[in-house]
């Protein structure tokens, strides 16, 4: 029996699981200050799910991580640079630790215990505020030479297109993301103030969540906007397929969890745009199964496999 701890360290939230032989035995979600990757609140959370048989811990940190040295290098959402997360965890907890970035740990979770089980070459594509992800090749995380592999949200999608948070124009995530859906919905509502979506959302915030909920409930304009974002998402996926020819694409993130209303159009667009179509098939494009637990579960599973 192997017991390990997995820790998902985000900018303002931490999620800790204890995993026993691949199953979650305990979990805790808590707020944390973003002043450092490791805060007293994180160690408190770890102790709440701890058991005496914990053999190793794994942590997935939002941002750039050097997994070989166990360092948090830098990230836009977590403070500090060059923090020796692995060493600090090992010193404090007395067991071996593994550290990687959040997307890589989430990919590991999906590969071992989620939608990627049984696949060798998998892309995890997270679709939320932006687009991120991770590359699995031959059942190994491929992080690139600087740990930046999978930062495809900043793939150029439309030269001279919309401004991106990164300072460039026309990045993929400017047209496929929660904020892109929000922007489309606000435009639609402004232009159709008496339409079904405007009526439905009157008095509520117009954002990715409320629009996808309206689409779920069958609102036609909302479904069409979700499909439009899905199409732009699918066209970008087609680029990833042209470059990496993966065996499966697992779609995570808040907007990714919307499911068929978004992934159906994404698949249709990608199928039409696929190069060499008659000699290959579109890889399955499926929703991630572990949801917001993927990072912590993947970290716990990586910790177990490191033993």
């Amino acid at each position: 029996m192997t017991t390990t701890i997995g820790i998902d360290i985000g900018g303002t939230k931490v999620f800790v699981v204890r995993v026993v032989d691949g199953e979650i035995a305990a979990e805790i979600r808590t707020e944390t200050a973003s002043e450092a990757p490791l805060t007293p609140a994180i160690f408190d959370a770890i102790r709440q799910v701890w058991s005496s048989d914990v053999a190793a811990v794994g942590a997935g940190v939002a941002g750039l991580v050097d997994p070989d040295r166990g360092l948090f290098v830098w990230g836009p959402h977590v403070a500090g640079t060059g923090i020796p997360v692995r060493t600090e965890l090992e010193k404090e907890l007395g067991v071996p630790a593994v550290v990687d970035n959040d997307a890589n740990m989430a990919a590991w979770g999906e590969l071992r215990a989620g939608a990627g089980r049984g696949y060798r070459h998998m892309l995890l594509v997270t679709l939320g505020t932006g687009i991120g992800g991770a590359v699995v090749i031959d059942e190994q995380i491929y992080a690139g030479i600087s740990g930046f592999a999978g930062e495809w949200g900043h793939m150029l999608f439309d030269p001279g297109g919309l401004p991106c948070d990164c300072g460039k124009l026309g990045c993929w995530e400017t047209v496929a993301s929660g904020p892109a859906l929000t922007r489309l919905a606000r435009n639609h509502v402004a232009q159709n103030p008496q339409g079904s979506l405007a009526t439905r959302l009157r008095g509520s915030v117009i954002d990715g969540e409320s629009v996808t909920r309206a689409a779920d409930e069958g609102d036609e304009p909302a479904r069409s906007l979700v499909a439009q974002v899905g199409g732009a998402f699918g066209l970008g996926l087609c680029n990833l397929i042209a470059i990496l020819d993966p065996e499966i694409i697992v779609v995570g993130g808040g907007l990714g969890s919307v499911g068929e209303a978004l992934l159906g159009p994404a698949r249709r667009v990608a199928t039409d745009a696929l190069h060499g179509g008659s000699h290959r098939r579109l890889p399955p494009i499926v929703v991630a199964q572990l949801g917001s637990r993927a990072n912590a579960v993947g970290a716990a599973l990586r910790a177990a496999e490191s033993l």
Copy 2:
């Protein structure tokens, strides 16, 4: 001492080398009919460079290849489908054979004996009539699940852009390729019939070759057109970097061999567009060293390593 044969099988040309301990000992270039991957003319060429100590052969075939089964699957330039190239070579020549597609063999040549020596994660990007290439991860060829990895010439570059030979609009190779340079040059000459480039090329064919020669000779408009294609090339490279974070990019192909007039602008554009710029460096973007011999030399080296 290890002696192997490497065979570059294109649509209308074949190039065969005999390699002894990493050095070319003999080579022959010949025309061949494109009616099949393996023609009598190819075996004639092999026999002309053959020596009694040949221990293995390798072949790089233009098109889609299944290296595990040694099959030529299909290609736009070579006739036949599902041809058992490895088996036919082994039966005819009496030594073990390895078979892969041309870009993968060329990448292997550059990795072992060219510009990629000493690197673990390398992209070979071939820039000629179109854009192709190959992915090396951890010193292994990564071919993807269908053998299509590296087909990034058909990455979407500009939605609604120029029509591509593949039937889609706005693929990367519509703006970065020999034909793209030809198109730009013809437009320039039509609009500037008294300009230096029009004067220089009067009476000669305006194509990628004549324009890059004019650029080499210092013609300013030609240099500017080459730089424009280089910029579009660099912007696409930036996407490959965002996705794969490689250690080095080796640029092959006819137009790639132009060198700094094209790669200088490509690097400048890629540096500006690189995401996470302050936490990473642009990987070296360098010209391939083996030129048109890369495929055959790589095939011979792969054959030697397979022993």
